[in-house]
């Protein structure tokens, strides 16, 4: 008698022979064989193939269920088929006939078989990424399995991030976290923290790419909530674009007061809040003005100086205020102060070490360096600011010059370097015109200004810096005429803000009964100044009021007479010198015709062309410095 195996093979071969030409006959052979040998794998598999080829997914499901149940961990053919099935399930959107068959067949499998398929696939896969995908597939089909299997999946993700962070972070954020957010599993603290950090990193890269940031922050806060639930933390507030940051801060303080020292929950909440504020600060530093992106730079504002207050200046220990110079100033200052608040909290002893490690893991270096520099100048830590400036290599030359100038103003004196920065700034002015700023000077209190990088604001700041160095000289004895004229030119931008200074200059002109005409005919176009000078001229008809036009005259009236004796022409009001009167009128009329010129450009040109004289005014060098070199 032939053996049982030979009989099985014979029947299988007969069925295979007839599969193409006569499927019914082939099925007859299989049915007969199955009746005789119910436990033969080959026969069961062949029956499945026949149903599969005939596109009978219901019958195929029955055959497949029987095979899967009775022949676990056997036979290569079965694994191949399972792989085809799982591939089809992962790509349900594809519409090939083969995929359609597998999807339909799968639906007719019993749930137990369905679940076992996933488990077997996971256990036999050598590829970590493959297993993660199967897990995701299983969780989608069997949400309840997430409760027990999620920790293992999350560990796989954490492991995968060591090699391919981008890929695994995306899977975590976009696929896994949404699935477990309703019932987060309990995890070890380390794992939860690592997952949160990875999510934060993913979204921060998204934010830094300047895509839509509102969704990113909403997701960050959601991830924070999920991790909080995993860790058993007190829930934080959900994200809303319209919630004032003070609300978040108060919530944080409330949680802080009820937490043990160095609590992870406080660390993560504060870090999130810090980064949120920091982002608001960095983002608002760029604003569209006149169809161009304009950066705002935090600089030192000007303090008003008055002769009565001389000697009574005591540096205030209060932190400086922020001036409302532009429409964006309130938002910028709020974001900055909130970030500073969180930063100070996170740098206390209980959080500093963990926070530092956390910052190293996040791609925030450019933001942090910018923020730390601004924080240093905010608190007046000049040395620290100088140290930090060396690390900021991403700043443009214009911004660097501006910040050096600001540091000069902070220390209350102008160095040669600061003056050179003024010249450098004026040589690199942007094309955006912008507007003049208000509230650039405050009395008796240190204050900060967010300066937009526009032509108007930059020139205004440079002019203000020079005037702040020169203004007190006007109240000293024996002020040179040239200095008075130069300050008048610069005051054309600042006339309404410092009436006292301009009035003092006019008083000196009246007392001296002389004024140098050189700057008048070249640089003074402001109508208020021209009117006042004309008024002085007209009201001094009875006295010997002199106007000189010597380009070299820069001393007292006596010096004027001596130095410019051979070169200057005097225009006096004594007697009936009609020609002289007409000349002054002609000059005045000529300047009035120029009153619509751009004052910003005029003053920038003035500083550039007269920078030697201005340096002499500021640094008190008796002779012009011919060897000043611009770096």
């Amino acid at each position: 008698m032939p053996s049982q195996e030979e009989n099985e093979l014979y029947m299988v071969k007969e069925a295979q022979r007839l599969r193409k030409s006569d499927p019914c006959a082939a099925m007859a052979w299989i049915i007969t064989a199955k009746t005789l040998y119910p436990n033969a794998f080959n026969l069961q598999y062949e029956a499945y193939l026949l149903e599969r080829d005939a596109q009978n997914y219901e019958e195929a499901a029955k055959c497949f269920s029987a095979i899967a149940t009775n022949f676990q961990n056997q036979h290569t053919e079965l694994w191949q088929e399972i792989n085809s099935l799982t591939n089809a399930l992962r790509n349900e959107n594809e519409t090939t006939p083969e995929h359609e068959f597998y999807v339909k067949m799968y639906k007719h499998l019993t749930p137990e078989v369905q679940h076992n398929i996933f488990m077997h696939t996971i256990n036999h896969s050598a590829d970590n990424l493959e297993r993660i995908y199967i897990y995701i597939l299983m969780f989608n089909k069997f949400p309840k399995s997430a409760i027990t299997q999620a920790p293992r999946l999350l560990e796989m993700l954490a492991e995968g991030m060591k090699t391919e962070p981008d890929l695994y972070q995306r899977i975590l954020v976009e696929e896994v976290l949404p699935m477990i957010q309703n019932k987060p599993p309990e995890l070890s603290p380390n794992l939860a923290c690592r997952l949160y950090t990875s999510s934060l990193e993913f979204y921060l890269r998204q934010i830094m790419d300047e895509s839509d940031t509102a969704d990113a922050w909403k997701n960050i806060f959601k991830v924070l909530m999920i991790c909080g639930q995993m860790m058993g933390w007190e829930p934080f507030l959900p994200f809303s674009k319209h919630v004032n940051q003070n609300v978040y801060w108060e919530k944080l303080v409330d949680i802080l007061s009820g937490s043990p020292a160095g609590s992870s929950q406080v660390l993560f909440y504060a870090t999130t809040l810090f980064i949120y504020s920091l982002h608001g600060y960095i983002r608002n530093c760029k604003l569209r003005i006149e169809d161009a992106d304009v950066t705002h730079v935090l600089v030192e504002g000007f303090m008003e100086w008055s002769p009565e207050g001389d000697g009574s200046e005591v540096p205030s220990m209060e932190p400086p205020k922020f001036s409302l110079t532009t429409a964006i100033s309130p938002e910028l200052s709020k974001a900055f102060l909130h970030a500073a608040q969180c930063w100070q909290l996170l740098n206390t002893d209980q959080f500093q070490r963990d926070f530092s490690q956390l910052m190293l893991a996040l791609p925030l270096a450019p933001w942090i360096s910018r923020f730390l520099f601004d924080l240093a100048i905010y608190f007046g830590h000049r040395d620290e600011a100088n140290k930090l400036m060396a690390d900021m290599t991403t700043q443009s030359s214009l911004v660097q010059s501006l910040q050096i100038l600001s540091l000069n103003l902070m220390q209350g004196s102008m160095t040669l370097q600061g003056f050179q920065c003024i010249l450098k700034i004026l040589s690199e002015l942007p094309t955006t015109q912008g507007q003049l700023l208000e509230n650039m000077s405050l009395k008796g209190h240190r204050h900060m200004v967010f300066l937009p990088l526009t032509r108007s604001a930059l020139v205004q700041y440079c002019v203000g810096a020079i005037i702040s160095r020169l203004s007190r000289k006007v109240f000293e004895p024996n002020v040179p005429d040239r200095l008075l004229g130069d300050i008048l030119v610069l005051q054309q931008l600042n006339l309404l803000n410092d009436v006292l200074l301009t009035q003092q200059i006019f008083n000196l002109i009246k007392q001296r009964k002389s004024f140098n005409l050189r700057t008048l005919s070249t640089y003074i176009i402001n109508i208020d100044l021209l009117e006042e000078l004309s008024h002085i001229w007209n009201s001094q008809q009875e006295d010997n009021f002199e106007l000189t036009s010597s380009p070299n005259s820069s001393g007292t009236p006596t010096a004027t007479t001596v130095a410019g004796g051979s070169q200057s022409r005097r225009i006096g009001t004594r007697g009936a010198d009609k020609g002289a009167r007409d000349e002054f009128r002609a000059i005045t009329r000529q300047q009035i015709a120029r009153c619509n010129e751009n004052v910003i450009t005029l003053l920038a040109n003035f500083i550039n062309q007269e920078h030697l004289m201005l340096a002499q005014h500021i640094f008190g060098i008796s002779q012009p410095v011919e060897t000043i070199v611009i770096k």
């Binding site: 006149e290 015109q433 507007q435 003049l436 208000e438 108007s456 931008l493 006339l495 309404l496 009436v499 301009t502 009035q503 006019f506 109508i527 208020d528 100044l529 021209l530 009117e531 006042e532 004309s534 008024h535 001229w537 007209n538 009201s539 005045t588 009329r589 009035i592 015709a593 009153c595 619509n596 751009n598 004052v599 910003i600």
Partner: protein, 587 residues
């Protein structure tokens, strides 16, 4: 109604208008003033206009006049000086306007680019000083200024910070000092670059329509619409429908604030009616010079033609054919219409013999053609002719128990027009006429009753015209007349003493005794002055005599008379003069 035009003569007015270099703010202001004068001319040159230019100080270029060409010429010669000082100008305005009193509506039109000035002379400086000491006498002129209508024609671009900051402070000035003022400005051009509230050192290249000749003219039109519009009423004379016409009153009638008799109650605001009805006619001598609320020209209403068209042709085109008269005996106005037809027939016959009178602009000119018909149909012409010829005034009702007089008035230019004087509300407002509602006709007198008013004015001499000192100028004029006669003595000695006694009696009648002392002082000063100039002794002696007589108590009697110094004194002076040359001859 006076209008003072103030032109900003600061240097800022010489600035070229951005984007339109052919214009400066001053050239636009000049065109604006010309256009304002054009509008006033089209309205009939009823306005007295003065021109004031101001910078640090204010200078009156043209005093009040209705010769607008003077103002036109003066505007072209205004030269900017240095900086504008608005408060100095407003003080000068109060001083210049003071002769007009408070009865008139006082208009001030300021053409400026809203420069603020600098330092303590600026408007900002004034507001800072005013904020702490509002009740100082230094700011007393502001109370008078509050009666004026201040109209600011603001010349500037809304993208120009110099202008916009000035606008804000000007409005602040009007608000804080409680002045009646209005800022006329152009509408800002729509520009996405303009950021409101931020100073812009580089004004945007201006859209052409924001500020230019056309827009300035629009500002003037708005000003005229707000402040220079006549009142239109219907003038009615009797029940005959053709004795009724629309007329314009200039200046427009102002609402009258009538105080209530009940303590603490709000005063009642009264307006004149839309219809003015003639109630009767009185002799001008009977009316005299009663106190009035306001005076108005009465002009026939003629549709205003486009500029360039003559007023005359406008009248012709507006003339409507008179309706044909059908003599229907059943018509209640039959007799009146028959009379009118007879008059027309009479005038048609004698048209050749008619002479045209050159004295009056509105004299009836009897010429054939539509023009004759138009002028004959005008009620104003008829009324004016009748009142002028008869030396009478028409009593008109302008409201409930509110009356006025219409009469023919000739001003200094020898032009004659109808004038309406509005009396205070009430029926017993002229004491010497009694209750106006009790007036009647002489024919209604009962037999034996004499026609008379409660106070009868005896006129013994035709040369003795009554002295009226309602205005300060009248008193000043009479005093000047006496002084002029004083200088011409001894030729005018009789005239001098005649005028002196006339003023003396008027002063005594009014109880104005201080005037006599002042007059005596003036005569003494004049005597000293004339002595230095070598006037005749006769003149100085007479002046001294008159001054002495004015101070005597016995001359405080109405019936006494100051007589010239006797001739004996003159003879003595003559003999003294004859003696003087003799010693010189002997040498």
């Amino acid at each position: 109604m006076p209008t003072l035009i103030a032109l900003d003569a600061s240097l800022s007015m010489l600035r070229p208008v951005p984007g339109r270099n052919e214009h400066t703010y001053q050239s636009l202001a000049t065109k604006g003033i010309q256009h304002l004068l054009d509008n006033l001319t089209a309205a009939g040159k009823l306005e007295h206009v003065a021109l004031l230019s101001y910078s640090t100080t204010a200078e009156l270029k043209v005093d009040f006049t209705r010769d607008y060409d003077q103002v036109r010429q003066a505007v072209k010669k205004v030269e900017p000086v240095d900086k504008a000082c608005l408060m100095s100008m407003l003080k000068a305005v109060v001083s210049i306007m003071s002769p007009w009193g408070n009865q008139n509506i006082l208009q001030v039109v300021v053409f400026t680019d809203c420069g603020l000035g600098f330092g303590n002379t600026s408007i900002t400086g004034f507001l800072e000083a005013y904020a702490e000491k509002e009740s100082e006498p230094e700011f007393g002129f502001l109370k008078t200024l509050a009666n004026y209508n201040l109209n600011f024609i603001c010349l500037g671009l809304h993208g120009d910070y110099y202008f916009t900051r000035g606008l804000a402070v000007y409005q602040q000035l009007l608000d804080k000092v409680s002045l009646k003022g209005q800022l006329f400005m152009t509408k800002p051009a729509k520009s996405s670059d303009a950021v409101e509230g931020n100073p812009n050192p580089n004004p945007n290249p201006s859209h052409k329509s924001e500020l230019g000749r056309t827009t300035v003219f629009e500002l003037i039109e708005r000003l005229c619409e707000a402040s220079y519009k006549s009142s239109e009423v219907t003038l009615k004379c009797g029940s005959y429908f053709r004795m009724e016409a629309s007329v314009l009153l200039w200046p427009p009638t102002a609402p009258y604030e009538q105080k209530s008799h009940i303590f603490g109650r709000e005063p009642t605001i009264r307006h004149t009616d839309q219809k003015i009805e003639v109630c009767g006619f009185l002799s001008l001598s009977d009316i005299g010079s009663p106190a009035t609320l306001s005076r108005h020209w009465v002009l026939p209403k003629v549709e205003r033609e486009k500029s360039g068209s003559s007023r005359r042709s406008g009248n012709l085109s507006a003339a409507a054919k008179p309706p044909k008269l059908n003599l229907d005996t059943s018509n209640p106005n039959y007799e009146l219409e028959k009379l009118e037809a007879d008059i027309k027939e009479f005038y048609a016959k004698d048209s050749k013999d008619t002479e045209e009178s050159g004295d009056d602009d509105v004299t009836i000119v009897l010429k054939p053609g539509p023009q004759t018909e138009q002028q004959k149909e005008n009620l104003c012409v008829l009324l004016h002719g009748a009142l002028k010829m008869e030396n009478m005034a028409a009593l008109v009702r302008v409201g409930d128990k509110w009356y006025g007089f219409i009469y023919a008035f000739t001003d200094s230019k020898k032009k004659s027009n109808l004038m309406l004087n509005i009396l205070p509300p009430g029926t017993n407002v002229i004491p010497w006429l009694g209750d106006l509602e009790s007036l009647g006709f002489p024919e209604d007198l009962a037999p034996g009753e004499t026609a008379s008013f409660p106070v009868r004015a005896d006129r013994r001499s035709y040369s003795q015209s009554s002295v009226v000192w309602i205005r300060q100028a009248s008193l000043q004029s009479d005093v000047q007349k006496v002084l002029r006669h004083a200088k011409k003595m001894p030729d005018k000695t009789q005239h001098f003493y005649k005028e002196l006694n006339r003023i003396r009696r008027a002063a005594l009648a009014l109880g104005f005794v201080e005037l006599l002392e002042a007059l005596a002082m003036l005569l003494e000063k004049e005597c000293a002055h004339l002595s230095l100039n070598g006037a005749s002794n006769d003149c100085t002696l007479q002046l001294q005599h008159a001054a002495t007589e004015l101070r005597k108590t016995s001359n405080r009697d109405m019936k006494s008379m100051i007589v010239p110094l006797q001739k004996v004194g003159a003879s003595d002076a003559g003999s003294t003069a004859a003696t003087a040359p003799a010693p010189a001859y002997m040498y």
